[in-house]
């Protein structure tokens, strides 16, 4: 299912966050993600590494739909990291979920297409 807070298309989170996601329990999901940022961040990092970053069209000759699905999967991971950071900001710093991130926040994706931890 798609949880509006996450905005992802098909991503299923692991563990308790996955259960809350499946149940559509957004408030509990925000708490779980915000209190355990590091655990879920590592999962997303591993998933992105498994996918190999943003897809290269050259790897999908004549397979537009395959390329689109691959790109969507990566997009979901990036959106999940953004949601994770918002949840952490809410739980640790009292920021509203709708607030823009602080200007000194590290980039979400680095030049090597790897997710960056907001905790350094």
């Amino acid at each position: 299912m798609t949880t509006p807070f996450l905005g992802t298309r098909t991503l299923r989170l692991p563990g308790r966050a996955g259960q809350l996601q499946a149940a559509g329990a957004t408030a509990s999901l925000v708490r779980e993600l915000g209190d355990n940022y590091g655990r879920y961040h590592e999962h997303l990092v591993a998933e992105l590494a498994r996918l190999g970053g943003r897809p290269d069209p050259a790897d999908y000759p004549g397979d537009f739909e395959g390329y689109c699905e691959a790109y969507s999967a990566v997009r979901d991971l990036v959106l999940a990291e953004i949601a994770l950071r918002r949840a952490r900001g809410f739980r640790k710093h009292g920021r509203r979920l709708a607030d823009p991130p602080p200007p000194d926040e590290p980039v979400v994706v680095d030049r090597n297409d790897k997710l960056v931890s907001v905790e350094g």
């Binding site: 509006p4 298309r9 943003r54 069209p57 050259a58 999908y60 000759p61 537009f64 739909e65 390329y67 689109c68 699905e69 790109y71 969507s72 997009r75 979901d76 990036v78 959106l79 953004i82 709708a98 607030d99 823009p100 991130p101 926040e105 980039v107 979400v108 994706v109 680095d110 030049r111 297409d113």
Partner: protein, 408 residues
């Protein structure tokens, strides 16, 4: 700096006042659109299409999107658009220069944004409020969703090649019956003013809307990247078309779009340029808000490209008889076409002296019938009670005559 005009042909009947191919046999003659553009130094024409009007029913794949748009009354409408773009392709302006064709898409079908309610009958009752809000952004903005397929269909249709039906037919993924070609493609329009996200306007949540538009930019670019890598021609991509009217917080919105793109380490595969609408600057006799937009672009790299801005809409409402977003504490704006001429020309010349501005666009050649927002070069073709713009119906305004003589 390129001078451009905006026309509004898609979904409209042939020979509508803003049909690029409009001809007119009135006596005395009123200016046909195409001839006006060719007699001026206009360098670009911006034409409009509306997804909500073109695809009232959902599709579940890119091929199905193509099949739907290539058949029935959708095909008829697409082919009307083809013919107008092909005419622009074949025209030269008074200086003998080719005229560029820009396509802009906006409007989202209610099936794609979740606003349609049970019982909606959009075909027989398009005004039914249960049929949703076409300003709400699509819920699925991914590369595997219907908005991405619509965008892809459009830029593949207008590669300039011939295809009797359109992309996804006759063994080809590109082309149209008129071999029409777009030079640039604006994927959204004034999201900070007119779009809604989860029912919240872009005005009320510029940060949220900024994230949405950044997402759409990255999706469109991923689509372009695939086809470009396969040797297909892709146009120059444009976004977001910020409205400069003050309460829509264009700087906050723009800042969030660019921040999100930068945070995602996004580098456009297609050429991308930032677009902005400068109505309020024109009305105020300033370039302040354009300068603000330039300031935002200076803070962030925009797709690794330069910081050139295309002004893809602008103009002065010569019919100031209706409220038009006056600034707090500012005197009401003057009325009528002399002021339109003075303010537009003044802004055009002021902007021409700024660096990194590629284009200045006038919104509309002719007024939309019965529409109160009168920014065009010609007065209404259809009598409209209450207008203060003056002049004979269909006659050229001072600003039209000035534009015709401009050398950008």
């Amino acid at each position: 700096m390129a001078g451009a005009v905006h026309v509004d042909p898609a979904n409209l009947p042939n020979n509508h006042t803003n049909d690029y191919l409009k001809s007119d046999s009135s006596n005395p003659p009123r200016y046909p659109n195409r001839d006006f553009v060719k007699a001026s130094n206009t360098q670009y024409v911006r034409v409009w299409t509306d997804w909500s009007g073109m695809q009232p029913f959902p599709s579940s794949s890119f091929q199905q999107t193509c099949d739907w748009l290539n058949s029935g009354d959708r095909a008829t409408r697409m082919q009307a658009l083809d013919r107008q773009i092909a005419a622009i392709n074949s025209d030269r302006n008074a200086s003998g220069a080719n005229i560029g064709a820009m396509l802009v898409t906006s409007g989202f079908p209610s099936w794609a944004n979740g606003t349609r309610q049970a019982g909606c009958d959009i075909i027989n009752n398009p005004g039914d409020p249960r049929c949703g809000n076409t300003a709400e952004v699509p819920t699925d903005r991914s590369t595997s969703g219907p908005w991405a397929w619509w965008i892809t269909y459009l830029f593949l249709r207008y590669t300039g090649l011939h295809n009797p039906l359109g992309p996804g037919s006759n063994g080809s993924w590109q082309g149209n019956p008129s071999s029409a070609r777009i030079d640039s493609f604006e994927i959204c329009n004034e999201p900070n003013q007119t779009y809604r996200f989860n029912g919240q306007s872009g005005e009320g949540d510029p940060a949220g809307m900024g994230c949405v538009i950044a997402d759409m930019i990255m999706t469109a670019d991923a689509m372009a990247n695939f086809w470009k890598s396969g040797g297909y021609r892709v146009p120059t991509f444009l976004a977001p078309g910020t409205s400069d009217v003050s309460q829509f917080r264009p700087v906050t919105f723009a800042d969030n779009v660019l921040y999100r793109l930068n945070q995602s380490n996004w580098r456009g595969a297609a050429p991308w340029f930032w677009t902005h609408h400068n109505y309020q600057d024109i009305k105020n006799g300033q370039t302040t808000r354009l300068t603000d937009a330039r300031g935002v672009l200076a803070r962030y790299p925009w797709s690794g490209q330069n910081r050139v801005i295309w002004l893809t809409e602008g103009g002065y409402d010569a019919n100031q008889s209706l409220p038009d977003d006056p600034l707090p504490g500012q005197p009401s704006a003057p009325n009528g076409e002399p002021e339109q001429n003075i303010l537009c020309l003044g802004n055009f010349n002021a902007v021409r002296n700024l660096s990194n501005i590629y284009m200045w666009t006038n919104h509309m050649l002719n007024e939309e019938p019965h529409h109160p927002f009168e920014t065009a070069f010609f007065n209404d073709w259809i009598p409209q009670p209450g207008t203060k713009a003056g002049g004979t119906q269909g006659s050229q305004r001072q600003w039209g005559a000035t534009w015709r003589g401009l050398v950008p």
